[in-house]
Symmetry: C2
Subunit: 210 residues, 2 copies
DNA sequence: CTAAAAATCAGTATAAATACGGATGCTATT
DNA sequence: AATAGCATCCGTATTTATACTGATTTTTAG
């Protein structure tokens, strides 16, 4: 039976080394390398082709955890990242889940949970603790408090804009003049405090409007 | 001690009535009404001002579950919706979570889980079973397979576009001519098969590019 | 090494969006 | 009855974005 090869990426040396010591107790886990940022991580991944898991901190210099997740997701390998972070905010958790993290642990997790998570993830399964999943869900649902700031017409117009229709096309569809649609768009842009349509669509999706 | 007042909204009569019978066993739960779509639900909510929970099906005629969630979220009340659905696809679950569902149960859930969920939700806490949360997380992370279709420069430009910068501003920031940025944007639009910047930003967020 | 992308720049023309103005009728709330 | 917000409309001018065609250099991949 071969051990689980993993790399620890964290910019705090004490934490990194502590984790390493801690994992020495487990025969089925082999810490291949300790690195302090994303760049070093990818150098190590070049050298070692049999890495199963990366324990990943979010806040690191040069290349941070989010960037690492993204790069891992877009290269074909079967390295499974486990995020270990001190932030328990929902937006961090949701971003990590979105970017392919196999788990999200807080730094105050006990070692039983850690080794349990490593083993589950090594089996190819994602594992998010209930309280972590809960924070993420709360964050997602709180994203939109703002639906009321737009009128129904404005929401309708916004939806059509986001579908790629031009002002003229929207006007025709809603049986009003182009001027009206332009005014609507201008008002929406003002209400959401953005500069132009591009930023508008981005913000609108962020706050769950479309 | 006052009972938990709830309404069941589901377009299948047998299921609705079955659920009702089932909940009669529990003294702390009081089924106030049974309705078969969202419109009826809101009529009942007008009549009864002390409803704590709505058991909500997704697929219903006239006004479906998503619309109900949305309307509930945007009106101020403390009705806590629990979605009971036969769909276990991640996108359904994620949408419900996003729109303020307090829980998401499958129709094959056993009654112990149901009553447990009702009691937890009545206490104001959201509760998503681990296997449900897992499906949602998987869905979220699978959203993007496509990052590779854009070059790094294109991603960089796309990011700046989404932040509301104009072509000229982006050109200045990246030390190239406006033409270059225009070409980049045109290429990005072509690659993602969209009509204009608005639709581009929408699609880019959908597939997790920004 | 060679072919294919990627990144850079250009001309010309049209379409669309944004920034300023300003106006009216309607509805809901106070 | 009055105020405020909404939806509707209009003019003018400027800025941006899009469409089409075309090109060079560098980088990447086979």
């Amino acid at each position: 039976m071969k051990p689980i090869n993993l790399i620890i990426a964290d910019d705090h040396e004490l934490f990194r080394n502590g984790l390493n010591e801690l994992l020495k107790k487990y025969d089925d886990v082999h810490v291949v390398a300790l690195v302090e940022d994303g760049n070093e991580l990818f150098k190590e991944l070049e050298k070692h082709k049999d890495i199963a898991i990366v324990l990943l901190d979010i806040t690191m210099p040069n290349m941070d955890g989010f960037q690492v997740l993204n790069k891992l997701k877009n290269s074909d390998n079967n390295i499974k990242p486990i995020v270990i972070s001190m932030h328990d905010e929902g937006n961090y958790i949701a971003s990590c889940a979105k970017n392919g993290a196999y788990s999200y642990l807080l730094k105050n997790t006990d070692q039983d949970e850690l080794i349990k998570t490593i083993r589950i993830v090594n089996g190819g399964k994602k594992y998010f603790q209930p309280q972590i999943a809960e924070k993420m869900i709360n964050y997602m649902s709180e994203q939109s408090v703002s639906e009321n700031i737009l009128s129904n017409k404005e929401k309708e117009v916004l939806d059509l804009i986001s579908k790629g229709l031009t002002t003229k096309e929207i006007a025709k569809r809603l049986f009003v003049s182009s001027r009206t649609i332009e005014t609507h768009r201008a008002n929406i842009i003002k209400k959401l405090e953005v500069k132009n349509t591009a930023e508008l669509i981005k913000k609108a999706t962020e706050i769950n409007l479309i």
